[in-house]
Amino acid sequence: MASKRLLASIGAVLAIGTLSAPTASARYFFNFPSPVTPIAHEVLFIHDLFLAIITVIFAGAISVLFYSLFTHRKSKNYTPATFTKPTTKKQWAWSFVPVLTLIFIDYVVLGIPALHSILALANTRDDKLVVVVTASQWKWHYAYPAYGIQFTSTLSTPMDEVYGNAPKDRHFLLEVDHPLVLPTNEKVLIVLKSADVIHSFWVPAFGIKQDAVPGYLRKTWVNIQKPGVYRGQCAELCGVGHAFMPIVVDARTPAAFTRWVASERAAAGVAREAAEKVWTKEALMANGKRVFDSNCAACHQPNGLGIPGTFPPIATEHPFSASKEMLSDLMKRGFYRAGRITEGPIASHIEIVMHGIPGTPMPAFESQLSDTDIASVITFERNAFGNHTGQVVQPASIKALRSKKVR
């Protein structure tokens, strides 16, 4: 198995050398993914043009070099010339040819298509739909202001697969719980925000990459021509979970998109009702584990043991040491005593999950998770990993806290 993969790797490297790629398996035909937006088409054209030109330049230069290396050798009793610069008018003219060619390639052959593409990308007017994308460590939040729909999208690959305790799925690290659903054949304006550090929204098949900068709005757009599922990743180092915030876009025909909008709105109504009812502890625990795995496990680890010095454990009675600031933050909130993590008061627990701990990577989940999810994850954390408080938080109490804050 391993040797097969090794051979395939070596084969891959050789395949490029011979430029005979199209015949190899699809996996080894190296180019950008099939473009599905006008911008991606332009970018692919520019890329192919560029690669063709630099391949020709490189091949030309290498041929001259190798001709020289094999001919002008001392071992062939070649007598060295002594020229140091162009002398005749003709020589001067010939030395300017490469320079002028280079300028022509730069500013005409490559410059004009690039100029066109940049200006096309910058035209963010005439959109049919606006999607507000908010990046945070380490998830994406998608909102459709026109439809009142919003949800958070997180990695759905279990950490067990990352750490080799489970076989890896086909879409390992490129799968999410809620993909971004977009209509095809419509210009969609993507407004990018960031809640903490710089992230970058990148879906290769769309040919766009745009940083999300905290405190500023950034705009880009897509017009997807083909329904399908497109996968991308955050492309700016944003901390520990940088590799674990994929983007999955589910592009549907306008009719299918309209149906999705209707069903999403109905589901939101059901969720609001669910938040009203009294949940059983088992139901909260089950939902809480799901929420924990997709929102908390990247830092606090799937086993709740955290990472020494960086991310505190959820499991109580677990020894933990970290910076003075972090320990005092935890102590103040009642979660740390004498070198160990303790069971803090429930009110403080809710406060931390909803509002985060300022100045640390612990984010505020208030606007990212529903009442039900916040109640579930707190119930889960207080009863899992060997914790036995037996305490249950109901969605209704989270809802009450939210409405109190509004008043």
Binding site: L6, S9, A12, V13, I16, F30, I39, I46, H47, F50, I54, F58, A61, S68, H72, K74, N77, T79, P80, A81, T82, F83, K85, P98, L102, D106, Y107, L110, G111, A114, I118, A122, V162, G164, K168, H171, F172, L173, D196, V197, I198, K209, Q210, D211, P214, G215, R218, Q233, C234, A235, E236, L237, G239, V240, G241, A243, F244, G309, T310, S323
Partner: protein, 530 residues
């Protein structure tokens, strides 16, 4: 022209043992210190690279946690740029410039000593947080990538503070070295050594020195502002207080882009010497190359935002930075033309320095051409922050400067030690380096085109094969450098046959009129250049 009277000094009169090196103001001693330090840090940075490739060998987290991975890639970058390459080129300047221009020593010898001895503490500061972590203090070293983008660097742990102080020291050291080079070249040339006769290496370093003095302050100012944001409640890089995270990117890249040429120019300067020596033919286009250095230096300070095409600059800013970046291809193209013309119709032999010099031309050619591709603001949407970029800058920085430094090391080692290195080992080193390097980075071009972002500790399954190929290449490349270390150590300890003063049949220049190794004090009376 100033001639310094050193007749009072006795030949070889200097302290012995450790104090010789601690207190030395001798340009050759300091040059050697710089080079040994650079080589050591090259091995440290290389070891970190091996750890990176080991983690990326297969999908799944195997070796380390993501936070340690981020620290390893960051320190790899900082060490290679600031602690390996810059010191080595500064060492070459120190050792070679006075000998090349017929000066008795560098103009500011005590500053020179200080400039070097700031480096080891800076290197220690970069890695110290790892040891502090073992003692339970902090959470490791800087983990923001070598670009230290705010606000990630404001949020991050104490490693960032250590890195900021390391950068202060490195900046101080480089600035002092640059002042010294400029003063020496402008004032201490031997009679007859006019600027038009200055060896091309000296010209390249003169440009480098001016460039360093021009751009390092931007990084240092940025670092002070970052420190203030982290600890004193300012908001230079935070929008909530009226600042702007993009300001850091501008300050960083105003330094960061010219930095590429700071690394590149000294080796682009040594390359014509080597090519000319082994082609037994004079350097072609001396003036064209010198003007190209100046053009590259000037252009390099007005193109920085091509590193920020996806940060949301206005379209017309992107267009400006794209077209100004493309302009750099002209002087770089002229350099290539001159290098080709220097060996054209020569009588070449292929000793190890020549092999590495040709390797430089080929690999840096790939780096330069892919750089042209990256200058395209539209296509850069796709390339930016992917492995295509990683492969590009490794071709530009390993293929150029590191290959050049190694070529120079083999070229001057007999001059420095008086002994010839082992030619067979050198050739093995070259071929393994070429194979290992290309096997590492060609797959990375393809990974980038296929959509793999850089700086991720774990990746999707479709990237698995190429990553494994890249890792195998990297291990070859890493192992090959041990041959180099062995060869250098072997030569320094006196193995190999004695070198003549000219060392190479085709070598020219003042440094080759001196015995190998040169006396402790060179040119006690200034040589006269005809």
């Amino acid at each position: 022209m100033s001639v310094i009277d050193v007749h009072g000094l006795e030949e070889e009169h200097h302290p012995r043992g450790i104090s010789r090196w601690l207190y030395t103001t001798n340009h050759k001693d300091i040059g050697i210190l710089y080079m040994i330090f650079g080589l050591t840090m090259f091995l440290v940075g290389g070891l970190l690279a091996m750890l990176i490739r080991l983690e990326l060998f297969e999908p799944g987290m195997k070796l380390m946690h993501p936070e340690l991975y981020n620290q390893v890639i960051t320190v790899h970058g900082l060490v290679m740029v600031f602690a390996a390459l810059m010191p080595v080129t500064a060492g070459m300047a120190n050792y070679l410039i006075p000998m090349m221009i017929g000066a008795p020593d560098m103009a500011l010898p005590r500053l020179n000593n200080w400039g070097f001895w700031l480096l080891p503490p800076a290197a220690v500061l970069l890695v110290l947080p790892w040891f502090l972590q073992l003692l339970g203090i902090g959470n490791g070293t800087i983990d923001t990538g070598w670009t230290i983008y705010a606000p990630l660097s404001i949020q991050s742990g104490l490693g960032v503070d250590f890195a900021i102080f390391a950068i202060f020291l490195l900046g101080l050291s480089s600035t002092m070295a640059s002042i010294n080079v400029i003063v020496t070249v402008l004032n201490l040339r031997a009679p007859g050594m006019t600027l038009e006769k200055l060896p091309i290496f000296v010209w390249s370093w003169l440009n480098t020195a001016f460039l360093l003095i021009a751009v390092f302050p931007a990084l240092l100012a940025g670092a002070v502002m970052l420190l203030a944001d982290r600890h004193f409640g300012t908001h230079f890089f935070s929008a909530s207080g009226g600042g702007d995270p993009i300001l850091w990117e501008h300050m960083f890249w105003f330094f960061g882009h010219p930095e590429v040429y700071i690394l590149l120019l000294p080796t682009a300067g040594i390359l014509p010497h080597i090519l000319s020596t082994f082609a037994r033919k004079p350097i072609y286009g001396y003036k064209a190359q010198v003007y190209s250095f100046a053009a590259i230096s000037m252009l390099s300070v007005i193109v920085w935002a091509h590193h920020m095409f996806t940060s949301g600059l206005p379209a017309y800013a992107n267009i400006y930075f794209m077209f100004s970046t493309m302009a750099i291809s002209v002087p770089v193209g002229i350099l290539f033309f001159c290098w080709f013309a220097t060996i054209w119709r020569g009588a070449m032999t292929f000793e190890t320095p020549m092999l590495f010099a040709i390797g430089y031309v080929v690999l840096f050619g790939i780096g330069g051409l892919t750089g042209l591709v990256l200058s395209d603001a539209a296509a850069d949407q796709q390339y930016h922050n992917t492995y295509f970029l990683v492969a590009h800058f490794h071709y530009a920085l390993f293929g150029g400067p590191i290959m050049g430094v190694i070529a120079a090391a083999y070229y001057y080692l007999p001059k420095l030690t008086g002994r010839m290195y082992n030619e067979t080992l050198g050739k093995w080193h070259f071929w393994l380096t070429m194979i290992g390097f290309n096997a590492t980075f060609i797959p990375q071009f393809l990974l980038g085109i296929d959509g793999m972002p850089r700086r991720i500790p774990d990746y999707a399954l479709k990237f698995a094969h190429l990553n494994m190929a890249s890792s195998l290449g990297a291990f070859t490349l890493g192992a090959a450098q041990l041959l180099f270390v062995y060869n250098v150590v072997r030569t320094i300890s006196g193995a190999g046959r004695a070198a003549t003063s000219q060392v190479w049949e085709g070598a020219h220049g003042l440094e080759f009129t001196l015995p190998s190794p040169p006396p402790y004090h060179t040119f006690s009376s200034a040589p006269v250049i005809e």
